[in-house]
């Protein structure tokens, strides 16, 4: 009987596993350091400025449950793993951030790591806030700590099921995807452009919704290095539009003033905001200063077109209106359009100034992912009430009235009329969005 020969490969593999585990343990248990300028110690936080930083970052919206106390959290945010609830960021010591130091605050804002080492889900856009300046964070912290009423309210645990609810693997996600390198200004651009870039990439966290994500839910570009940055994303049942210079589904035909007008009022002559962007306008962009809105518009307008492959084009045409007037528009989608859409959006598809959005050349209609368009037809939409456009005009939903095939037909009609040239919408896609939005089907 001889002893079994020792297998050197097995030993090596085991050693490797042990070593890797040690590294992983080291990574996940490590509470990372953050670099803060030493000058901050001499600086007094500007609380009024901090309040404006909170507006720029749209903090209040996510951190306040509908009808709940300000900044006490509890808003449900969907993620691929399950529902997450925003946390209490009032200066309450036990359940809020009252016991945080500035360093703790900067760590959570830039790295998504709490003082106890718990990793945040990237539903909190620390991936973008990593680009926020020390001073802005200090002012924001000062504002939250000194102005907001402390609310003792334990943050609600997520609905994510075990084992996915285990948080330490997030450290590996961070190690793989998080870029905490901070904002890098571009010396070849003027200060206004750089201000816009700083806001878009940082506080305004536009990329969180508007940049496509990869297999692991990571944003494909966090700082505008490629033309995928802000080239259109996906959020719940919506398809945030392409903000790059494409003339079909992007901002190519928009002027800087159009972009600024939309951010201030919720609408422009090209489109009106709906869904999550309506919330962003309602709670954040309408309150931005004219200078900041202009800076954002200038930066966005400078973005080159995203790769055109698979994207829609638009060349204005009056042939659709002509065929409707001639009585020769006989497609099912066209008939539904006449019955239910044309009264406001008109036969020309051009809507009406400052009231009914145009469908001709509308970026949201032309988006390669038609989710937002389908959602608007199914459940309707409401513009935010802003100082510049207080009415909060709304469109009723038609999901109760039309089946999936009908909705697909009218969505396809709008995407292929008046010079719009986007892909057809299959009924199965409508069915999927309908289920996501939980809109019941017509009873026939």
């Amino acid at each position: 009987m001889s002893r079994p020969a020792r297998n050197p490969w097995l030993i090596a593999a085991l050693a490797l596993i042990v070593a890797a585990t040690a590294v992983v343990i080291a990574v996940v248990h490590h509470i990372p350091d953050v670099a803060i300028s030493s000058a901050l110690a001499q600086r007094t936080p500007d609380v009024a400025r901090g309040e404006y930083i909170a507006v720029l970052g749209d903090c209040a919206f996510c951190h306040t449950r509908a009808g709940g106390p300000s900044y006490a959290g509890g808003l449900a945010l969907s993620s691929p793993l399950g529902t997450i609830y925003s946390s209490n960021i009032t200066p309450e010591r036990d359940t809020g951030i009252g016991a945080y130091t500035l360093t703790d605050f900067v760590r959570v804002m830039r790295l998504g790591v709490r003082p106890d080492g718990t990793r945040l889900y990237p539903a909190m856009p620390y991936t973008a806030y990593a680009r926020v300046s020390d001073e802005d964070l200090q002012d924001l912290f000062g504002y939250l700590q000194s102005t907001i009423a402390p609310v003792p309210l334990a943050s609600r645990a997520s609905d994510i099921a075990w084992p996915l609810s285990i948080r330490w693997p997030l450290a590996l996600w961070d190690a793989a995807f998080h870029d905490d390198s901070g904002f890098v200004s571009d010396g070849s651009q003027d200060p206004q452009w750089n201000r816009g870039a700083y806001l878009v990439q940082g506080l305004a966290h536009c990329g969180t919704c508007h940049t496509p994500r990869g297999l692991f839910f990571e944003e494909k570009d966090l700082s505008g290095r490629s033309n995928l940055y802000l080239s259109g994303g996906r959020l719940d049942a919506t398809s945030p539009i392409n903000l790059r210079g494409n003339s079909g589904d992007g901002l190519g035909r928009w002027s800087v003033a159009d972009i600024a007008t939309l951010l201030k009022s919720g609408r422009s002559e090209h489109s009106a905001v709906t869904g999550p962007m309506a919330d962003a306008v309602r709670h954040s962009t309408q309150y931005m200063t004219d200078q900041d809105v202009a800076a954002i518009a200038i930066y966005l307008k400078s973005l080159s077109p995203a790769p055109e492959r698979g994207r829609a084009s638009f060349v204005a045409s009056d042939s659709t209106a002509g065929s409707i007037m001639a009585g020769s528009e006989r497609t099912p989608g066209g008939r539904i359009y006449l019955d239910s859409c044309a009264a406001c959006h008109r036969l020309s598809g051009s809507g009406e100034t400052s009231t009914f959005p145009t469908l001709a050349g509308n970026s949201s209609v032309l988006s390669s992912d038609p989710s937002s368009l389908i959602g608007v037809i199914l459940e309707g939409a409401r513009a935010p009430s802003t100082a510049a456009a207080p009415s909060g005009l709304a469109m009723p939903g038609f999901g109760w009235r039309y089946n999936d095939a009908d909705i697909a037909a009218v969505a396809t009609f709008t995407r292929s009329s008046w010079g719009n040239n986007a892909s057809p919408v299959p009924a199965a896609k409508v069915a999927k969005i309908r289920d996501q939005l939980r809109i019941s089907r017509p009873e026939y």
Binding site: S340, A343, S354, T355, A388, A389, P390, S391, A394
Partner: protein, 590 residues
């Protein structure tokens, strides 16, 4: 009883006048609370296409109107009759809920003729004192057109009214109404396009030597942003205005023109499902201390306020004044007392015109306010000396939209049912139009409002009692207008006419729709012996109480009242802001 925290201003009722007063006083920095008995409502979801364009729920079942099972009025023709409750909507249509009657109105947006505000003086000057018949209690309003003009203008700007001026600051303009009183500005939007009825009416009346003009309509002809920043979309002539909330943000309503801005103001609050029982006063009855209301749970609540504004519909304003014991009730036997006096209405003659098969009217389409009108026989624009009546009205060819449930008019003699009826409908539906005359109802000693001794509402409060009937003066006028309508209908090319023209011997029929333009009962005026409120709509007796609405009319007018009601609310608000707030107390010394 629970007592709420005091507010600067409590507004009872949240339709047009409540919304106007609320935003004007909130913008002045006051803490304003509006109490509305009905529910909140807005374009989406309440009037979303296509559900609201439902003739059964809205026109037949009165979806937007006051629930008469909860509260109504009693009606009689004469003070010796027994009044009975108005149990089904018929002659008039009180609204309810946020927006009030401003939701289901048609949109006809006129002003007032300057002479109407001083009709007693005007008639006396032109025809002599004896021209006013015995029992007709005409009186001047105490306010002039010139004083109100900026507020008419303001209300039109707010509504985005479509029209064409005929007189801007005294210079007459082609295309407008030549009888129009001077306006400071052109209408904010150009007139709506004439539908077929209106085009035929304009051509025929012009050929007859009359002076047609586009009726002012608070149905937007173009996209519009009003001075508050509210956005209106252009009307698409869907034909669902009167009885309906507008699907299209086109018809001016509190919701489309004021509320979005008001709701953004932190010093404004709205409490719905609050039925106000009475205005509370101090022990001397000289100062209003607030109001008492019943909330949705049936609890009585006291709401203290420094200023009380009654801005409910006509009926409810008058009833509240009576229930609260403010001002002396009118006694028709002695003529003493002011509250309930000069209760008036309006007369409507409606004639259907049937045309040849080659004349397409397409009555399924239209808009509430669109039309052409003449004022050759309005107020005292024509010589009454030999006519034997006082008053007048507007004649119009409107096309408001019609559908099967609202009733398809057919030529006289058509079968009322079966295949014969169907054949007649098929033959006539696309070729039928309508012209109307809307005429003033003067004030009479025997027409008044008081509390009913028998019937009470769901809250135990006595119902308001109406005592009103058509009088000889008004029916003579109506007959005169009947002839004009027939003449115009013929000139328009109608092959036959049918309809309703009020004639001598006719009584007020409360079952048939007449108009919702009831008015008077808390008359405004310069003399506290004949009026309840002064020219600023301030109670003579309780100076921190303001009473808005058509109930302040001193007598009936020929126009649709909304334009005047809105202008009076702006006028009152402007004077509260400019004068009252600086020095609370009577704005006019009695």
């Amino acid at each position: 009883m629970a007592t709420n925290k005091p507010v600067d201003v409590v507004i009872v009722g949240f339709g047009w006048t409540g919304a106007i007063m609320a935003i004007e006083l909130a913008q002045a920095g006051l803490n304003v609370l509006a109490l509305e008995r009905g529910e909140d409502a807005s374009t989406v979801p309440n009037w979303a296409y296509p559900k609201v364009v439902d003739e059964i729920s809205q026109s037949a079942r009165n979806g937007l109107l006051q629930n008469l099972a909860k509260s109504t009025v009693t009606i009689r023709h004469h003070k010796d009759d027994r009044a009975l409750p108005y149990r089904q909507i018929g002659s008039f249509k009180p609204g309810t809920g946020v927006g009030g009657a401003g939701i289901h109105w048609s949109g006809v947006h006129s002003r007032v003729m300057p002479q109407e505000l001083r009709l007693r003086s005007h008639i006396t000057e032109r025809y002599g004192r004896n021209f006013i018949p015995e029992g007709m209690t005409l009186q001047d309003w105490g306010v002039t057109y010139e004083e109100l003009e900026p507020h008419f203008d303001r209300f039109e700007q707010v509504c985005g009214t479509s029209g064409k001026a005929g007189n801007i600051q005294g210079s007459k303009l082609d295309g407008g109404n030549p009888f129009e009183a001077p306006r400071s500005h052109e209408f904010p939007l150009p007139p709506l396009t004439d539908p077929p009825t209106s085009a035929l009416f304009a051509k025929a009346t012009r050929e007859l030597g009359y002076h047609p003009y586009p009726l002012p309509a608070a149905n937007a002809s173009r996209p519009y942003t009003n001075p508050y920043g509210c956005q209106l979309g252009p009307c698409n002539f869907c034909g669902f205005c009167s009885d309906y909330g507008c699907i299209n943000y086109s018809k001016a309503s509190p919701q489309t023109t004021i509320l979005p801005v008001l709701y953004r103001m932190p010093n404004f609050a709205l409490r719905t499902q609050t039925h106000v029982l009475k205005v509370n006063t101090d022990s001397a009855g000289k100062v209003a201390t607030g109001v008492t209301y019943v909330d949705a749970q049936g609890h009585e609540v006291e709401q203290p306020a420094a200023i009380v504004v009654l801005a409910a519909f006509h009926l409810h304003n008058v009833r509240l004044m009576l229930s609260s014991g403010i001002s002396q009730p009118y006694d028709p036997d002695t003529g003493k007392g002011t509250l309930g006096r000069n209760f008036c209405y309006q007369l409507l003659n409606s004639v259907n015109l049937f045309f040849n098969q080659n004349v397409y009217i397409n009555q399924f389409m239209g808009a509430g306010g669109v039309g052409q009108a003449i004022e050759d026989f309005y107020a005292d624009n024509f010589d009454h000396a030999k006519l034997g009546f006082i008053g007048g009205g507007v004649i119009w060819g409107r096309q408001t939209g019609n559908g099967p449930v609202r009733g398809i008019p057919l030529p006289s003699g058509s079968p009322a049912w079966g295949s014969g009826w169907k054949a007649a409908v098929k033959q006539n539906f696309l070729h039928t139009g309508r012209i109307e005359s809307q005429m003033s109802n003067m004030a009479y000693r025997g027409c008044y409002l008081d509390l009913d001794p028998t019937y009470r509402d769901a809250y135990g409060t006595p119902l308001l009692r109406m005592t009103l009937n058509w009088q000889d003066n008004d029916l003579r006028m109506s007959e005169f207008f009947g002839e004009k309508l027939s003449q115009i209908g013929k000139a328009m090319g109608a092959t036959s006419q049918s309809g309703r023209v009020l004639k001598r011997g006719d009584n007020w029929d409360t079952r048939a729709y007449q108009s919702t333009h009831i008015n008077g009962g808390t008359a405004m005026g310069a003399d506290p012996k004949t009026s309840v409120v002064n020219k600023y709509l301030q109670s003579w007796d309780v100076s921190n109480l303001f009473v808005l609405g058509a109930n302040v009319f001193a007598h009936g007018i020929g126009y649709n009242p909304t334009g005047l009601v809105g202008a009076l609310a702006y006028w009152s608000a402007a004077n509260i802001r400019a004068t009252y707030l600086k020095n609370p107390g009577p704005l006019v010394r009695a």
